[in-house]
Symmetry: C2
Subunit: 545 residues, 2 copies
């Protein structure tokens, strides 16, 4: 049986556009004489449609698109993800389904059993879990169809009491097909590949695994669809971060050799690729092409500039320098050198007179000079307002350049440097940002060495350094990773070897800044635990005693 | 049996503080010789702790607090909500539990079966549903213990296949007790009261219903705990929007008369009370006392000023006028009159010179005068930056004054008038805002009549009116309510009698402004469908074709 693995980049909610892409690739599967074309989870509407699913007319349109596709399907069958109405009197109104289309009709519909509802996933918000198990019989084969999470219960630490494959195996399938919408994180690729191989081994069945690629706002999907032989060998592996198509000629009993391209867990390269895709899709899918950003002379804005240039092209990125009296000379020259290396224009707007006028107007109210944090924030917010004015005037989207370490401890000014439509590196710790810069320079030396070696500074007062108020970033990031990604208690983090009062201070900073993170742009997610929708903490409340 | 209904205002995550409140009220129950003191759902940690539940040390601390309380409990028993570890190898790691404490020990623990996971609820994110049903035997009675949603499956339109009460009724209870964490909406009180009465009738059992009160960030809880007789009569009803305590002397077979205080569904008064509580708790629970806000001369900022004064006291509210050349004379005089009526000070900062200086610095970059939307946004953002500077300097929290109609269509400037730590009326449509103002004036005439009768204007250009770019608010709000709260399709809304192209334009505005709403402050929730965590729409994607 010839099975086409169809790995596409869908736009959430764009039922019409997604249908056209599906039909286009289906024609290729037909022309290459595939028996079955497999698309990913919720392909019709893209993963994840979120609360669009609360609208009945949206789900009806998905079901109608499925019917329209079915009408076109002839000998080459399709297996494709789509939300469907459950029709249940009691229970959720929808299923997360995989529809089997053949010879003009929807022949069979399978539903997802295990509904991930944790971190960025909230499927039980919409869907009823499946409890009826059936096999797809096609071309003399018996196929166990499952949807994404349905195969993720293989370890004892998982979240479910049921196991759909345990039910399906009783029906004696000779092949597994899994339709997936599995998002990227730099720790996830190897885990996913390993887990799918273990599924093949456990059930002694070959596995066709089809994932989507592309970014939908904050969530990035990396593809990496696979055909895994029953011995746990990856016989075919599709591209990462790219649309791809491959036909697997599967014969029962045939032994396949390993054609995995062995994409490794080198986090820096993965994060780089994911973010470039994330920026590109954010712009393309919202109909924009051009970005602006504030270029401070520091590492973060330099990194975001390079990433934006790689994603959108040099002609589409406009960095703006907004120096103040506290900006050091190298901030200007380093920024200019970066832009020269990237062959992009750089603009400059002065903020000092504006800050002076703001403080002038405030002085009578304060009965005092404007100083301290208020003075620092005024500078950051003046930059924000100028960048937004340019954004308004030119129709460019402002990119936010805050990193994850800063976002964690609240080292940033709301409506100032926290402005922007998309947070590019808000899920990248400062120490990772350094490593990504080194990786970029190892490919092409564009980021001036001085940007990588000087001490980080917000330059909001004379001789300011980040280390005035924060520990060194390797220490800070160690504590943050333990707290945010490993859910460790303060005591447990101290046991890792960090100073007790430092740990408590850092955790307090994290807890106290939920209100800031609540108001920042969507963050391109590259780790297992990003700020944003995947981490919903109370804003008011006591978070650690 | 004497049952104490203990209705308290908990602070999320404040295990220590909540425990003290619980023990304090328990002592009252003891001194009034109650047999059983009933507290609300997740009382130990407050509802809802959200992702604090992902931290094992947090849940351990909750369990420890439960043990500590149990040690103190003697003859008067306690039934109280607390998260507990499930100890399951397969399945979620936690239960949403009700613990029965008596004579120094945790005697029995019940778990929630129906886990609301829709709108603002996401309980399946954390909890495993219960599937073991047991009865609490105490003082010769058999009590069916359930938790909140467990009783909400009475209608066929509900979300669940199971019915916990159907299981429990087989064990022949003579009383139902429901521990609840049921948030307020102005449409919800009557629904909840009716549903609980129907439960009593359906199962022919009296029902003790205990809810929490108080606001945790955006979610407001209104209390209204009840004792309902088996004939569906509300025999006792506790206060709304206030902590309360009442002992019900329940005798099997005794016929109780109606002591419901008949709190009616008059939305305007309910919304007023809920928002005042919401503001007060936001400040108290985050350790702040003072608020500032921008006072434009329009209806929304006038309403927020009154609400803030009622919540925090006149001495704790600082309105600031920030007029421009486009501000009309009445904007100043109306604002001054409002503040005089409220006996509060008002400050004034001029924005014109700052806007001029901003435009001065931008002109070379634009090769042009700054005009149009960019010019309008600069004014709004200059106001934002000034208000935030005052907030920084004085340690006051900035209140946001955007209403739901504006938030829906994106009629507001990010980092400008959308600034603020808390959105006070972001879930109140403009037409509702008018009605609340009329209600306030009917109690005490503080809002100048001219504010209520003049045409709404953002005053960002000469002679601007809201109706230049929006339909009349009664039409706009009608379309918005149908789309946001009733999930109607554009076609269905047109069938209500609205103009087709108008409906499409309004819906496009709603869809295109998800990115703005993503970055605004938490919104005090008063309707069944507020913007914020209860409505998670994709930002990038095609939302209606």
């Amino acid at each position: 049986m010839k099975i086409a693995l169809c790995q596409l980049n869908f736009k959430v909610g764009d039922i019409e556009g997604n249908t056209l892409k599906i039909l286009d690739l289906y024609q290729r599967a037909v022309s290459e004489e595939a028996d079955l074309a497999v698309f990913s989870e919720l392909a019709i509407c893209g993963y994840s449609p979120e609360d669009l699913l609360d609208y009945p007319h949206f789900v009806k349109a998905c079901e109608q698109a499925l019917l329209n596709i079915a009408e076109i399907v002839e000998e080459t069958a399709i297996l494709i993800g789509c939300p469907t109405f459950s029709g249940l009197k009691f229970g959720k109104k929808l299923y997360n389904s995989a529809a089997f289309l053949h010879k003009g009709e929807i022949r069979k519909v399978f539903h997802k059993t295990l509904l991930p509802t944790y971190n960025i996933f909230n499927e039980y918000r919409y869907f009823e879990p499946n409890d009826q198990f059936q096999i797809l019989e096609f071309k003399g084969h018996k196929i166990a169809v499952s949807i994404c999470e349905d195969l993720w219960d293989i370890d004892e630490t998982r979240y479910y009491k049921q196991s759909p494959m345990q039910k399906l195996i009783a029906l004696e399938p000779d092949l597994m097909i899994n339709l997936s919408g599995s998002p990227f994180s730099y720790e996830h690729i190897e885990e996913r590949r390993d887990l799918m191989c273990r599924n093949a081994l456990k059930y002694d069945l070959p596995l066709v695994y089809v994932n989507q690629i592309g970014a939908n706002t904050d969530m990035i999907f990396d593809g990496g669809s696979m055909f895994i032989d029953r011995d746990g060998t990856i016989a075919e592996e599709l591209e990462y971060f790219k649309e791809d198509f491959k036909i697997v000629n599967w014969q029962k009993g045939f032994k396949y050799s390993n054609h995995s391209h062995g994409y490794q867990n080198e986090d820096v390269e993965l994060i780089y690729n994911a973010i470039v895709l994330g920026i590109r899709d954010y712009f393309q899918k919202s109909g924009f092409s051009k970005a602006i950003l504030g270029l401070s002379g520091g590492l973060d804005s330099a990194l975001v500039t390079v990433l934006a240039v790689r994603a959108l092209g040099a002609e589409n990125v406009l960095p703006v320098m907004l120096p103040s009296v506290y900006s050091s000379g190298h901030s200007i020259t380093d920024s200019e050198l970066l832009c020269k290396n990237l062959k992009i224009d750089v603009k400059r707007v002065e903020i000092q007179k504006i800050v002076d006028e703001l403080e002038n107007q405030l002085k009578p109210l304060f009965n005092d000079e404007v100083k301290g944090l208020t003075h620092e924030n005024l500078q950051a917010r003046t930059r924000g307002i100028l960048l937004m004015a340019i954004s308004n005037k030119l129709g460019h989207i402002l990119l936010n350049t805050t990193n994850k370490s800063e976002a964690a401890v609240g080292y940033g000014t709301l409506y100032g440097d926290l402005c922007g439509g998309l947070s590019v590196i808000g899920d990248v710790y400062k120490t990772q940002a350094y490593r990504i810069c080194r990786y970029i320079n190892s490919q092409e030396n564009v980021i001036p060495e001085n940007i990588l070696t000087k001490a980080p500074s917000a330059e909001l007062r004379p001789d300011q350094k980040d280390t005035d108020s924060l520990p060194e970033y390797d220490v800070l990031d160690g504590i943050l990773h333990a707290y945010i990604e490993r859910f460790m208690s303060p005591d447990e983090i101290v046991e890792l070897g960090y100073d007790g009062s430092l740990v408590n201070n850092v955790i307090k900073m994290v807890d106290r800044n939920e209100h800031k993170r609540f108001q920042v742009a969507p963050i391109l997610r590259v780790s297992d635990k990003a700020f944003g929708r995947g981490r919903t903490m109370p804003i008011v409340g006591k978070l650690n005693s």
